[in-house]
Amino acid sequence: MNYMLKQCNIVFDSLENGTLVVDEECVVWSWNKWLEINTGIEAESIIEKNLELFYPEVDYKGLQRKIRTTLRLNTPTFYDASLSNRFIQIPRHKITSSLLSFMQLQVTIAPYIPAEKKVMISIHDISDLHELKMTLQQRMKEIALLNSELQQDKQIINANLMIVKTDSGCEIVDATEAFCDFFGYTKGELIGGSLSRFYALDAGSDDFEQMKEVLRNKHRWSGEVEIITKNNDCVWMDTVISPFVDEYGEIISYTAIYHDITDKKRIEMLSVTDPLTKLFNRQKFDDVCRGMLMRRHWTKEYTFGLIIIDVDYFKKVNDTYGHQAGDSVLIEVSDILSQTVRTGDVLARWGGEEFVVLTPDVDSGKVLYAAEKLRRAIEMLEIPAVGKVTASFGVTVFVEGDTQESMLHRSDQALYRAKEKGRNRVESIFS
C-alpha cells in the first residue's frame, strides 16, 4: 500500500460514513473504520482482495461501468438512493421499526487517483430518511384509499339520499341529485330558494312553529312532514333537520335529510280504514277514544260526546235488495255522515250497520244537536234502488270516572231506548 493512501486512511477512519477505495477491477485498497464496525469485516482481511469475494451479490457489471464513467469523465457518479440496495448490504439494528433490515445507502463514486484507476466510494446511511419516505408513501396510499372510499360514499349518498343544505336563513345552498330527481327540480332551481316552500304545512301552523322552535334552540328536529313536489304531488317524508353551529354557538347551516314514507303512510292509512266505507275502523276509534280519555281537562261544559248510530231495518234492506244494495246503503250513509260531522269530530264504522262519532269540545246540549243533525241528514238521503233509510241514535258525554266501556255502555242503552221508542230518533243517557 502506498504512503499516500495510508495517510488518507487516517482521515477516512475519522469519517462518520463508510469510505472505501477500489480500482477498476473492484479490488479494495482502503476500508475505513466505519465500514469495519458496520460490516464486521476487518480492513486487514479485505484490503487488496476483490470486493466480490465478500459481496458476491453486487451487480459488478454495473459497478464497474460506474467506476469507468467516474474515471473517464473525472466526475462523481451515483447510485440511485431511492431503490432497494444495489450496492453492498449492511445490516441495520433498529428495533422499534422493522421497515428496513438493511441500511438504505446513499452511494457516491468519486475519482480518487485516476492515474491508478482508483475511485473512492462513500456510503451514507440514509435509512431514517428512507423510512420516513416509506411511511409517508404508505400514509399517502392510505389517504388516497380513504379518499376514493369517501368519494364512492359521496356518490352513493348523492344518488340515493335526499339531502338539502341550507344557510342559517333556511335558504337552500345545496341539494343531492336524489333530492332533485325526486322533487323534479334542477339544482339551479333549488339553490337560493327557501326550504319552507316545499312544506304542505301552513307557515303559521302549530307543527311548523314547534319545528322552528326546536331548531331555534339548536336541537335536531325529526318528524313526518308532507311535502309538495314540482308536479304538485303530496308526499310524506320522514325528516331529520340538524342545525350546525360554529365555534361561537351560532347556527351556520341546516341539513335536512328526507326519507320517502308515502307508502308507509298509505299502509298506515289502510290499517286504520274500513275498506268498504273508507271511514276509520274500530281499532282507530279505540285509539282516538283512548287519547280523548287521557286528556284531563274535560269539564261538564267542555267535554266530549259519544254517539252510536245504527241504521234502522238494515237486515230488511239486505234481505229485500241484496247485499250489494246493503253495501251501497252503508257507503251512502257513511258519506253523508262524513260530510255532516264537524271538523275535529271522529267518525268510525263500529261494525255491521253501526257507526260511532266522537265529538270533542261539547256539552250535552251540543252533542244532542249534533246527533239530531246527523239523524236528519240520513233521513233526507235518497239512496238509488233502495230509497229512504233512517237510523237510531244513542248519545252520551264523558263524565268524571268514565272509561270507554262505561261510555259505550250508556250510549248503547240510549240506542236501545231509541229503537224501543220507534226508531229514527235520538236518545241520550248522560250519567
Binding site: R65, K66, L73, T75, F78, D80, L83, S84
Partner: protein, 205 residues
C-alpha cells in the same frame, strides 16, 4: 434590474455553449450505448413558473409514465438538472445496459440514474468549463411520474424568472430518447449573465 436582462447575444452564447456541452454528452452516451445519437438544437428561454409549466406540458407526453431524474448542482452557477424519459425509453435503456430481455424496475431505475449522471456531469461540466467556473454535483433522485406534472404544487414555489435550457437526447437505433431541462432561477440568472458577459468581452477584445 436591467443588468439581469438577456440580450439575443446572451441567449446565442448560451445556446452555443449548450450545443458544445450536448455534443460532449452525446459522444459519452454514444460510447456507453455503442450507438449514434442525433443532435438537436437546444432551446433557451427565460420564463416564469407558469411559462415553465406550459413548456414542460408541451415537451413531455401527458399520457405516459415518465422517469424523472432531478439533480442539483451548485457553485457560482447553480440550478437543477432534470432528465425525463418515457417508460418505454427507460425500459429500452435498462434492457440495453443490463443486457436482459425484461429489465427489473431496479435495473431500469439504476440505468436511468447512470445515464442522467453522464448527461448532467458532461453537460454541466462542459458548460461551466466554458464559463470558467466550477460546479458541485449532488446525488440525483429518480421518480416515476404519471403524465407531465413535474412541478410541485406548493404556492411558495414562485420564482420570478427561470432560465430554461432544454434539448433532446435521441438514439434512434435503440429507441432511447429523453428530454433535458436545465433550470436556474433569480440570483443565478444574474451570475450567469455576468459569466456570459466575460465571455463576450474576451471575444470582442
Amino acid at each position: 434590474m436591467e443588468s439581469t436582462e438577456f440580450s439575443s447575444d446572451h441567449l446565442d452564447v448560451l445556446r452555443e455553449l449548450m450545443n458544445i456541452a450536448m455534443g460532449n454528452a452525446t459522444a459519452s452516451i454514444a460510447d456507453l450505448l455503442q450507438a449514434f445519437g442525433t443532435m438537436h438544437i437546444p432551446h433557451i428561454s427565460i420564463s416564469d413558473m407558469d411559462g415553465l409549466k406550459s413548456y414542460i406540458e408541451e415537451a413531455v407526453p401527458s399520457d405516459q409514465h415518465s422517469y424523472v431524474t432531478k439533480q442539483l448542482f451548485g457553485g457560482v452557477f447553480g440550478g437543477e438538472f432534470v432528465f425525463v424519459m418515457t417508460n418505454e425509453s427507460a425500459a429500452n435503456l435498462g434492457h440495453y445496459l443490463y443486457d436482459v430481455d425484461v429489465p427489473s424496475d431496479a435495473d431500469i431505475l439504476d440505468a436511468v440514474i447512470e445515464l442522467t449522471n453522464i448527461l448532467s456531469s458532461t453537460i454541466i461540466s462542459r458548460l461551466t468549463e466554458e464559463l470558467n467556473t466550477k460546479v458541485q454535483f449532488f446525488p440525483p433522485s429518480t421518480e416515476i411520474i404519471s403524465g407531465n406534472n413535474l412541478i410541485s404544487q406548493e404556492e411558495t414555489l414562485n420564482y420570478h424568472r427561470i432560465i430554461i435550457v432544454s434539448t433532446v437526447m435521441e438514439f434512434q437505433s435503440h429507441k432511447i430518447s429523453g428530454q433535458i431541462f436545465i433550470l436556474t432561477k433569480d440570483g443565478m440568472i444574474q451570475r450567469l449573465r455576468e459569466l456570459i458577459d466575460q465571455k463576450l468581452e474576451e471575444l470582442y477584445a
